[in-house]
Symmetry: C2
Subunit: 305 residues, 2 copies
DNA sequence: ATGAAAGCGCTAACAG
DNA sequence: CTGTTAGCGCTTTCAT
């Protein structure tokens, strides 16, 4: 180590000083610290990673950073990481399973200490790779568990009940639902929760009022267009997430109708949007707790803190 | 290498196969590939990083991921990185200089191959550290250059001219401006561009119409509150970015006034918000070009592609 | 209280 | 065409 020679010590001593070992004579430590500052010495993280297989880096995989829910999540997630001196490797899948596979591979190469996977694409292959390499993995709303695989699930039942009750109090009876993408994914849970909530509220579910979206604005738009084409329309709509709500809203406005006069729209994320009624389902606290759950499972945050 | 023995070759050969060297007999290569797949072998990136000092990772530092401009930027940035098999280390400063310093340090430890710094906090010390370690650094709108330091600047003059001309055509004469944070930062450029644009349009600049914000919704709100308290009000407002515009909008609505009836508001980022007039200044193309500029300077993208 | 040395996994140079 | 080896920087054990 070239640097150590300048300080007149061995690299071992430098290492000890940097890691705050108390085995170094204060005078020596002080001298080393001064040289570190003078020479702007920065250690090589990769050497430590190589030696110990830990990278102090966590991977975060999200489907779509354009969905305002995710920036808020990222913010909390990163903040917790930073507090623990960990870095965040972030990647977007854009809903492409192949991108997700690449991303996971790259994260394994970088030896991340854990992965939070918020993308719903149910590709089991890359997930198995993660488990095989014993990298803690936390998914969201997949409702699948396995050794090395945790899942943080949202309590849809309660959220949907809140939303439906809220609409019922506003005297809505004909309530529709615009879900997430078709297929055997998360969205099922939400639809089911919606149907159950309607039953609990003694309201009838009209199948024509249940539409499929894609978690994005476009999905909300096309679903709402379908709804407007119906002979009998619902008077209120729940949506799988807030982007879907925004899309629906746009179509409503484009057609000269208005919220809340002609329709009530309830989103499902508590994104910061005015003019719309939200049950605070994913409120900041819940959000932070979710993050904490993710990181607890990954083992970097203790159960209490 | 334990793994290499299973395949009956040396680690060097495995390395050659992985890196696509043509010095390996096809039969051998095939056999190695099969074992790689069977054993789900994933190389240790940190070993390569240690050997060559390159990590194939780029750092992206932003002030506030809650500002919708940044997710859109991140998306483009990451997409270009992924195309080049690079990873993204992302960090938020939340406008805290100390966070920025920590972040940069951590990125140096991780031996990132380049840093894109979109946060405006003008702390020269951490920036000097980056330059000292010869890590390519690209800033945005700092308008400062140095060896190893590039800057991608936005053409405010043109944007402001577009905006002012647009408002003038709508017959506005009393146009105000809500800027970014106070102090000797970027926002200066924008204010100056605004004043110049007004002059070019032969419109008078009323100092009372020029207000300070903070690039966030709250800043737009308080500045707009001040504006509403004025005896003579402007009829149109330009804002430093879109969040500021949203804040102003909120206050306008809260006071029973409306856009565009009582005020015209023009934001400055082209975020996806309806109901508001935007000159497409940071349109997707411009955005991508900006990213490309950032990455070109960092050396991972060629001048033409 | 400090130094010497080994070893983490990879790859380029060299030897065969 | 393939194997051997050195060395990247760090930390820890073992000497001293």
């Amino acid at each position: 180590m070239i640097f150590a020679k300048v300080a007149g010590v061995s690299s071992a001593t430098v290492s000890r000083v940097i890691n705050g070992s108390n085995l170094v004579k204060p005078v020596t430590a002080e001298r080393v610290r001064r040289v570190i500052a003078d020479l702007k010495f920065v250690p090589y993280g990769s050497a430590t990673t190589l030696k110990y297989g830990r990278s102090s880096t966590y991977g975060l995989i999200i489907p779509d950073i354009t969905n305002p829910f995710f920036p808020e999540f990222i913010r909390s997630f990163e903040s917790i990481l930073v507090d623990h001196n960990q870095d965040m490797l972030m990647a977007t899948t854009d809903f492409h399973p192949s991108k997700m596979q690449q991303t996971i591979y790259r994260m394994l190469v970088r030896k991340v200490d854990g992965i939070a996977l918020l993308a719903a694409e149910i590709e089991t292959e890359p997930i198995e790779a993660v488990i095989h390499h014993r990298v803690p993995l936390v998914t969201m709303d997949r409702l699948l568990l396995a050794p090395g695989l945790s899942d943080v699930a949202i309590d849809y039942a309660s959220g949907m009940n809140q939303a439906v009750q809220h609409l019922k109090q506003l005297r809505h009876r004909k309530i529709g639902y615009i879900g997430g993408s078709d297929g055997p994914t998360i969205s099922d849970h939400r639809v089911r929760a919606f149907v159950n909530a309607m039953r609990s509220a003694d309201l009838e579910v009209d199948p024509a009022f249940i539409r499929v979206g894609n978690y994005r604005i476009t999905g909300g738009e096309s679903a709402m267009t379908e709804v407007l084409a119906l002979r009998h329309r619902p008077t209120a709509l729940l949506t799988a997430n807030d982007l879907t709500a925004i899309g629906a809203l746009r179509v409503i406005r484009k057609n000269g109708l208005s919220v809340p006069k002609d329709f009530s729209i309830v989103g499902f994320d508590d994104i910061d949007l005015s003019d719309i009624v939200y049950p605070a389902h994913y409120d900041p606290l819940t959000l932070a707790r979710t993050c904490r759950g993710v990181l607890q499972s990954a083992g970097i945050v203790g159960k209490e803190s």
